[in-house]
Symmetry: C2
Subunit: 229 residues, 2 copies
């Protein structure tokens, strides 16, 4: 059994894209896990990990070993549970997809849903979320920032996803015939959005939508997403 510390918003929503990466990795490996939800103000719950960011796992089958950082967790799981390879034959591939996702997909997507995200955090985390995101965005008006982004940036955001569309021409998954960690990295970004916002990031006819549906069908994650109502 593995314990996963996962960021919680209101109503039990768990949007953290980096925690989604770990949930996909655990499910891919066929490992059972239990989740401990923590709010933005409850970082003391993961102080034992020596840092303040989720995800953190504790592997009870291996002396309650704690591991933090989604990338390090993926590498730990691959080494400790080598069945059902997760990272593929070339770890540089997952690394590049992660670097692209972090710098392009996350940044573009965040602008488009930051107001909805703010509306979904737990009441006691609302001020912290607004003030910390204001430092990145230059304004505390997160709803206004989101509205402006939807008006001016949506087309560029969709265009920035062209590498995914081209990749999906070669097979049903970004990794080819079967899903692997690169797929989970990108899917986690979309699950981040879906658990906090109903905004249509993509056109229904976009081939990325069909792939996202395939990803939601894996491991029963469609029910786990707890989409914003």
């Amino acid at each position: 059994m593995i314990t996963l510390y996962d960021l919680e918003f209101a109503d039990g929503a768990r949007p953290s894209p980096f925690c989604w990466r770990t949930k996909f990795a655990l499910a891919h490996k066929g490992l059972a896990w239990q989740e401990v939800p923590i709010g933005f103000g409850e970082k003391d719950k993961i102080a034992f990990s020596g840092q303040k960011l989720v995800p953190v796992i504790v592997d009870h089958a291996h002396d309650d070993k704690p591991v933090h950082d989604s990338g390090r967790i993926a590498a730990y799981l691959e080494q400790t549970y080598p069945d059902k390879p997760l990272l593929g034959a070339d770890p540089a591939f997952a690394r590049f997809v992660s670097n692209w996702t972090n710098s392009v997909l996350h940044a573009g997507l965040f602008s488009l849903i930051v107001g909805d995200m703010h509306a979904r955090v737990r009441p006691q985390d609302s001020d912290y979320f607004r003030q910390s995101r204001a430092k990145w965005l230059g304004t505390e008006d997160l709803a206004g920032f989101q509205a402006a982004a939807r008006a001016s940036r949506l087309a560029a955001f969709r265009q920035s996803l062209e590498p995914l569309r081209l990749q999906l021409r070669a097979g049903p998954y970004l990794s080819g015939e079967a899903p692997a960690y690169p797929d989970y990295i990108v899917a986690s970004a979309f699950l981040w959005a879906r658990t906090a916002s109903v905004f249509a990031l993509l056109d229904d006819a976009d081939p990325i939508v069909a792939w996202r549906e395939r990803m939601l069908d894996l491991y029963g994650f469609r029910d786990r997403q707890k989409a914003a109502a």
Copy 2:
């Protein structure tokens, strides 16, 4: 021996990024090749390949087999000359880097140097180049388009390369400790620019510059680039 049909600009310059990919692949495999330069108006020289685009190779060691398309050439070389693996253990990696390069890097870079490129084509190809590129860009004023792009798009272009910078934090090459086809794909885009333009696409302090220098040191390609004077 292999014959490579390579696109030629004025003064023997050979900017085609897809031909650079094939030159890198041949050099990586340690294969000897001879180049046949062709201009935009000389597609009849490669009519034997059944299509109109370079690169085309003819492998004289295997019944003068013709292969076209840089991706198919890389796969052919990997299969036919398996020593010194080129594509890495996971072909989806090179595919994703190619898809990113084609849709992001090439598009951004082309806007910034299209005027310089036009100035470098062979005189007899000048009208063809201007008219064909005007269809993509919406104007025949390629120099004006370039000037406007340099004024308005350079910062966004540099920002779009962030996945490369993040990737290079993990090792000297995009592929890790040693260069492989993903490095060649991206380096070929920069060689495309360098053979036609002296415009500073990158800030000197950019870690991508140091990587580009490492790529130019491979296989003596620094001399091959025939940079615009």
